[in-house]
C-alpha cells in the first residue's frame, strides 16, 4: 500500500526521480525551451542510454553474482558490431550479399550470428579459463584483460584497423517517425524499444523464474545456495554466457549507428563500469535506471557543450555524475548500505 510503494528503497527512488527531473529540466533549459530540439535531446539521450545498458547489463549481472569485473565485456560488444557489419556489407570477409539479397534479412542474420558467437565465446571464457580462478579474484581481472587483448588483436588481424561506417540502407533505417514536430530515423526508436524490452525481459527472468531466484539468492550468498544443493557453477556459466551474448547482441544492434571501430570496446566498457557503480553494484534496477540517467545527461550536456563551445564538458559527464553520486551516496543509487 501507499507507504510501502517504493519497497525498501524509498530514498533511492526519490533520488532517482529527483535526478530525472533535474536532467530533464536541464535538457529543456539547454534547448531554450524549444520542444523540437528538446525532442532531439530526449531521443538521443534514451538512445545512448539503451546502448549503455546493452553493455552494462551483462557486466552488472556477472559482477553481482560472481564478483568478476569482466574487462573483456567491451571486446564482446566489438565482436558483435564487426560481425553485424560484415554480414551486412559486401566488402567484408564473408560475402553473403548474393546469397541473401534482402538487406533486412541480412541484418537479422547478423544480429543472430552475433548473439550466437558472443554466447559461445562467453561460454569458453567462463568454463575453460575463469573457472579455475574463483579463489583468486585478482587474477580473474588479469585474465579477462588478457582475453580482451587477444580478442582485440584477433579483430585487428581479421578486419584490420580501418574504421567501418555503416553504409547499407534497410527498411528500419529509412523509415521515420516524428516527435514534437521533429523527424527521427525509426532505427532510434527500434534501439530504444529493444533496450526497454531487454530491461523488462531480464527483470522478468530475475523475478519470475526459478533461475532468477537462484541468481538473486546467489548475489546474496553463493555458498548458501550451493549448500542448498544447487549447482551454482552451472548458474555462473549460464549468467556469464548470457552477459556476453547480450553484449555482442548490443554491438550488432548498435553497429548501424556506431559502425565498427577498434576503439568501440574500451569507450563503452569504461562508461558501462561507471553506470553499474552509479546504479549500485549487484542491483539490476540500478543498472537500468543508471544507464538511462547517464544517457539523458550525456545528450543534454552534448547540446549544452555545443552552445558554450567546451567539448570536454560532454565527454566527462558520465564520470562527473558518478563522482557526485558516490559522494552523496557511497553505495551507489540502489546498492546495499553497509
Amino acid at each position: 500500500m501507499g507507504t510501502n510503494f517504493f519497497g525498501g528503497k524509498r530514498d533511492a527512488w526519490l533520488l532517482v526521480i529527483g535526478m530525472f527531473v533535474a536532467v530533464l529540466v536541464f535538457a529543456l533549459f539547454t534547448s531554450d525551451f524549444n520542444l523540437s530540439s528538446f525532442a532531439i535531446t530526449l531521443v538521443s539521450g534514451l538512445f545512448q542510454g539503451m546502448l549503455l545498458f546493452l553493455v552494462a547489463s551483462g557486466l552488472s549481472l556477472v559482477f553481482g553474482l560472481m564478483d568478476i569485473l569482466n574487462f573483456a565485456q567491451g571486446a564482446y560488444f566489438m565482436v558483435g558490431a564487426y560481425l553485424a557489419y560484415d554480414l551486412q556489407h559486401a566488402t567484408g570477409v564473408f560475402n553473403i550479399t548474393e546469397a541473401v539479397p534482402d538487406p533486412n534479412i541480412r541484418f537479422i542474420i547478423g544480429v543472430l550470428v552475433a548473439l550466437f558467437v558472443g554466447a559461445v565465446l562467453g561460454w569458453v571464457l567462463e568454463r575453460w579459463l575463469l573457472r579455475p580462478l574463483y579463489d583468486r579474484p585478482l587474477f580473474q581481472l588479469v585474465l579477462t584483460f588478457g582475453v580482451s587483448i587477444i580478442m582485440l588483436e584477433g579483430i585487428r588481424n581479421i578486419w584490420n584497423t580501418t574504421p567501418y561506417s555503416w553504409t547499407d540502407l534497410f527498411a528500419i533505417r529509412e523509415a521515420e517517425f516524428t516527435l514534437f514536430g521533429q523527424a527521427f530515423s525509426m532505427y532510434r526508436l527500434f534501439v530504444i524499444g529493444i533496450g526497454i524490452l531487454l530491461i523488462i525481459g531480464i527483470a522478468l527472468l530475475l523475478r519470475r523464474t526459478r533461475l532468477g531466484i537462484i541468481v538473486r539468492a546467489g548475489v546474496e550468498d553463493p555458498e548458501m545456495v550451493s549448500a542448498l544443493g544447487i549447482n551454482v557453477r552451472v548458474v555462473f556459466t549460464l549468467v556469464f554466457t548470457l552477459g556476453c551474448a547480450v553484449a555482442a547482441f548490443g554491438g550488432a544492434i548498435a553497429a548501424p549507428f556506431l559502425g565498427a571501430t577498434i576503439s568501440l570496446g574500451s569507450t563503452f566498457l569504461i562508461q558501462a563500469i561507471a553506470v553499474i557503480v552509479l546504479g549500485g553494484l549487484g542491483s539490476y534496477e540500478g543498472t537500468a535506471v543508471g544507464s538511462i540517467i547517464v544517457g539523458l545527461a550525456l545528450a543534454a550536456m552534448q547540446q549544452f557543450s555545443i552552445g558554450v563551445n567546451i567539448p570536454v564538458l560532454a565527454t566527462i559527464t558520465p564520470m562527473l555524475l558518478l563522482v557526485i553520486v558516490l559522494l552523496v551516496r557511497p553505495q551507489g543509487l540502489f546498492g546495499e548500505a553497509r
Binding site: L138, L141, F145, G146, V147, V277, L322
Partner: protein, 372 residues
C-alpha cells in the same frame, strides 16, 4: 598471505658495535641487491666497453650525438626505472595496504604535465624551473593523494577503485582537450636544463633515474618493514581488526595513498624528461591497468615483484617489437603480433604463476625448505 608481522615497537637503541655487526649482517642478507646496484651503476660503461660505443654518445663537431649501443641501452633502462617506480608506488598502496585504486595514472600524468607546463610557460631559468617543478609536483600530487585518500573513508573496495577511475578519466579528458598543451598531440618539453637533457647528456638522466629508482626501493622497503608498515599490512589483511586494535586506519591509509601518489608523480616527471614531452596517453587508464597487471604478474605485496614485472614486460615489449623469427621455411614477424603475444602472456602467467612470479617463487622455496 601470512606475512603480517606482529605489531610491536621492537626497535631498541643499539650500541655502535651492534650497528657494525648489523651492517655486516645486512650486507650478507642483501648481497644480491648490492651486486645489482653496482652492476646498474657501472651499466653504461659495461655496455660501452662490450660494444665499443662511448656511453656519452658520439661526438659530432663540438657536441655529442646520442647514438650507439650504450646510449640506447641507457634509454631502455631509464624507461624501466620510471615504470618500476610507478609500479612500486602502486604496490605500496595496493599490495601492502590493500587499497585498490584505478586512478594511479592521474598522479603519473600530472607529474609529467605539471613539469612540462612549468618549464615551458614559467619563463624561468631551466634549473630553477626544474626545482620549482619538483616542489610543485610533490605538493600537488601529495595534496591530491590526501584528498582522494579522505574519500576512502566513505568509499570502500571496488567503489573506491571506480571513484578513482572516474577522477583519472576526467583528468585524461581534460588534458586531451586542453589547447595550451596542444590537446591530443601533447606538450613538447624543450626547455630542460642542459645537464639533464636526454638529447645531450643522456647518462645524467640515467643516473638521476637510477637514484630515483634506488631511493624509492629503499624507502618502500624501510616503510613497509617499520611499525607503520605493519599497520599497513594489518589493514590489508583485515581493516576492522586493525581498528579494533586501536589504530586509526584512515590515517595510515591516507599516508600510504599520499606517498604512493607523490612517488608516481616523480615517475611521471622522469618519463617526461626522458621523452621530452607530456602526452595525454600518460593519463590514460591503460597506465593504471599496466601498473596493476605488472604488480600482479610480478607478485603482489613483494618488494622485487613490481620491479621484475615492470622490467620484464618492458624488455619483452622493447625487444619483441622488432623481432622476426625464422624457423625453417616459416617466418614469423613477432613485432606485428606482439600485442597478441602479450595477451597470451597475461593468460599464461595467470594460469602458471598463481601468486605472481616472485610470490610463487617464494612459496616454492618455502615448501622446499620445509620438506628438507
Amino acid at each position: 598471505m601470512a606475512q603480517t608481522r606482529p605489531i610491536s615497537a621492537n626497535a631498541p637503541a643499539r650500541s655502535a658495535n651492534a650497528q657494525n655487526v648489523s651492517f655486516v649482517a645486512s650486507l650478507r642478507e642483501n648481497w644480491l641487491y648490492w651486486l645489482i646496484l653496482i652492476v646498474l651503476v657501472l651499466f653504461p660503461f659495461i655496455i660501452g666497453w662490450l660494444s665499443g660505443d662511448s656511453p656519452f654518445g658520439t661526438p659530432r663537431g663540438d657536441r655529442m650525438v646520442m647514438r650507439g649501443e650504450s646510449v640506447y641501452a641507457q634509454s631502455v633502462l631509464i624507461n624501466i626505472f620510471a615504470l618500476s617506480v610507478l609500479v612500486m608506488s602502486y604496490n605500496l598502496m595496493f599490495g601492502f595496504t590493500g587499497v585498490i585504486s584505478f586512478g594511479h595514472a592521474l598522479f603519473f600524468g600530472l607529474g609529467g604535465y605539471l613539469m612540462g607546463i612549468i618549464l615551458e610557460f614559467g619563463g624561468m631559468d631551466p634549473n630553477i624551473g626544474l626545482i620549482v617543478a619538483l616542489v610543485v609536483v610533490l605538493v600537488v600530487t601529495g595534496i591530491l593523494g590526501f584528498i582522494v585518500g579522505i574519500v576512502s573513508l566513505r568509499l570502500r573496495g571496488i567503489y573506491f577503485a571506480i571513484f578513482t577511475l572516474a577522477i583519472a578519466e576526467m583528468g585524461w579528458l581534460f588534458f586531451r582537450g586542453l589547447s595550451i598543451t596542444n590537446g591530443e598531440d601533447g606538450l613538447n618539453v624543450a626547455s630542460l636544463p642542459e645537464w639533464l637533457d636526454p638529447a645531450r647528456n643522456r647518462i645524467m638522466v640515467y643516473y638521476v633515474g637510477l637514484a630515483l629508482f634506488v631511493l624509492t626501493f629503499v624507502l618502500i622497503r624501510r616503510l613497509v618493514n617499520s611499525p607503520v608498515g605493519s599497520v599497513f599490512q594489518a589493514i590489508r589483511e583485515n581493516e576492522e581488526r586493525a581498528q579494533v586494535l586501536g589504530y586509526n586506519t584512515l590515517h595510515y591509509k591516507l599516508f600510504s595513498i599520499t606517498v604512493a601518489g607523490m612517488l608516481a608523480g616523480l615517475a611521471g616527471m622522469l618519463l617526461a624528461i626522458m621523452n621530452k614531452e607530456a602526452r595525454p596517453e600518460i593519463l590514460n587508464v591503460s597506465v593504471t591497468v599496466d601498473a596493476l597487471l605488472m604488480t600482479i604478474i610480478g607478485g603482489v605485496g613483494t618488494f622485487t615483484g613490481p620491479v621484475i614485472g615492470a622490467s620484464g614486460l618492458h624488455l619483452l615489449d622493447t625487444f619483441l617489437r622488432e623481432a622476426v623469427v625464422t624457423i625453417g621455411p616459416i617466418t614469423i614477424d613477432i613485432g606485428e603480433r606482439w600485442t597478441l603475444i602479450l595477451g597470451f602472456i597475461f593468460v599464461l602467467v595467470v594460469l602458471i604463476f598463481p601468486y605472481g612470479m616472485v610470490g610463487t617463487w617464494q612459496r616454492l622455496r618455502m615448501r622446499f625448505k620445509r620438506s628438507k
